[in-house]
Amino acid sequence: MIGAKPRRILITGGNTGLGLALAKKLARRHQLLLSGRKSQDEVAGMLPPGAGYVVADQSDPESSARALVRGIGEFGWDGLHNAVLNAGTGTAPADSVDSTEAIRRSLDVNLLAALLQAQALYPLLEKSRGTLTLIGSLAHKGYATIPAYAASKAGLHGLARALRSEWKGAVSVQVLHPGPSKTDMHDKAGYDPGLMRSLFLAPDDVASMMASAIAARRSPVTLSWVRYLNGGAYTGRRL
């Protein structure tokens, strides 16, 4: 079943971080369409060979959903086996109180964009009996230094739980919660993890765990050290 033939896979935020690590892992066996905020020119040469790219800025949730649907059509796909809604942003406020702008951006980019994209992609996923994967975070249970980010990821958790039940039998829905990894996310968020960074997992290992979790279609799944030390990056199903 899974793994038998190439799948059509959309990965949002596929031009950087975990999204790109996952794309590189899957590019050999599957057809990929990646999305990001950057222009085609800016990402040229950075993406795995053969992968398509569509510009979809998550900070405008409605238009990002439309851009994805249009991009999929222009790429010549009439269905979607996997949608991995991975794009995300974070801000670590200096005194733990988020600015209004940071609250709105976190919710728009991390939660509302994914929500409207899930809605817009439903017909394509349903047609291929596909899987919708939301990328949450270990922080979805609450995190004092990043309240708005944690809230947005908790929202994804609740969304996945409801949708998994609603779409049962039509589209598989799951949420994966990766722990911190060595991407440039913390720099971008204005947070210096210091020595803690040496404990973060390599993006490549997290991407391996993501791929097998996607193939297994379970939800929710936490992708952290515990799973890693149990061989999570090397065992499990192959996508």
């Binding site: 959903a65 600015s99 929500l115 439903y122 017909p123 809230a151 609740g158 739980r161 409801a162 609603e166």
Partner: protein, 251 residues
């Protein structure tokens, strides 16, 4: 004579919010109500500030007035809307409003009030989430997302609030006897099983003033929440049976 205290209630014009306003007025609070609609006449007067929380501009515009009306001894962040139906068929605009009103607005209000020092040391803040945090809510996916986001925002802010001497209580009410809940209840649901809004407000505010971290009003809801935590999947499946499978045709 007791010193009057000051409270802010969002969505205080109807439902649980209106019940909280009555409770607070009976307990020596002057109440500021932030709502889109005027409170029903015939009640004790409140300081009413009009705002549609779905609009970012409107909220930004009233924020200075809201801060000036403080400092508050209690804030009750209750304003919320629900949208029920099959997720993919609900208008995208409605999903956006749900996230903005239920999660974004109370988060912005909390952050700005704290920053401005408009919440007094010793104050209590109440965030009205939902029982769906423990049970899942097929048939109201964006609502469930918004209420989970709000609950976790409050949890994340607790450390900061402690330094400001403020306690944060997250309330997880079950189905209530309010006009709004009526519209979203499945067809044939037994209204007598829903909790009276006055009773819920009393239980939640009592918990908040005692500094409790969570408030689940009513023993039946508390049992449901415990089961939901132990076995989230069967409980979500049960919610599907109770709600999603009974959605009115066309929704």
């Amino acid at each position: 004579m007791q010193v009057r205290k000051r409270a802010l209630v969002t969505g205080g014009s109807a439902g649980l919010g209106a019940a909280a306003v009555s409770w607070l007025q009976a307990n020596n609070y002057d109440v500021v109500v932030l709502d889109r609609d005027q409170p029903l006449s015939g009640k004790a007067p409140v300081n009413f500030i009009s705002c549609d929380l779905a609009s970012r501009t409107e909220l930004d515009n009233v924020m200075p007035e809201l801060i000036a009306a403080g400092p508050y001894d209690l804030i009750f962040l209750n304003a919320g809307i629900n949208v029920t139906g099959r997720f993919e068929r609900i208008d995208a605009r409605a999903h956006i409003d749900v996230i903005r009103i239920n999660a974004e607005a109370p988060m912005v209000i909390t952050a700005r009030l704290f920053e401005a020092g408009a919440i007094r040391r010793g104050a209590a803040a109440v965030f009205v989430s939902s029982m769906s945090h423990f049970t899942g809510y097929p048939g109201a996916a964006s609502y469930a997302a918004s209420k989970d986001a709000l609950a976790i925002y409050a949890k994340s802010m607790r450390r900061y609030a402690k330094t400001a001497g403020v306690t944060l209580t997250v309330a997880f009410p079950g189905p209530l006897k309010t006009n709004h809940a009526e519209q979203h209840a499945p067809e044939g649901a037994d209204a007598s099983k829903r909790m009276d809004a006055d009773e819920a407000a009393n239980l939640i505010l009592t918990d908040a003033l005692a500094g409790r971290r969570t408030s689940i009003p009513g023993p039946a809801n508390r049992i449901f929440a415990v089961i939901g935590r132990i076995a989230p999947k069967p409980v979500t499946a049960l919610m599907r049976k109770l709600i999603y499978d009974r959605l009115k045709p066309g929704m």
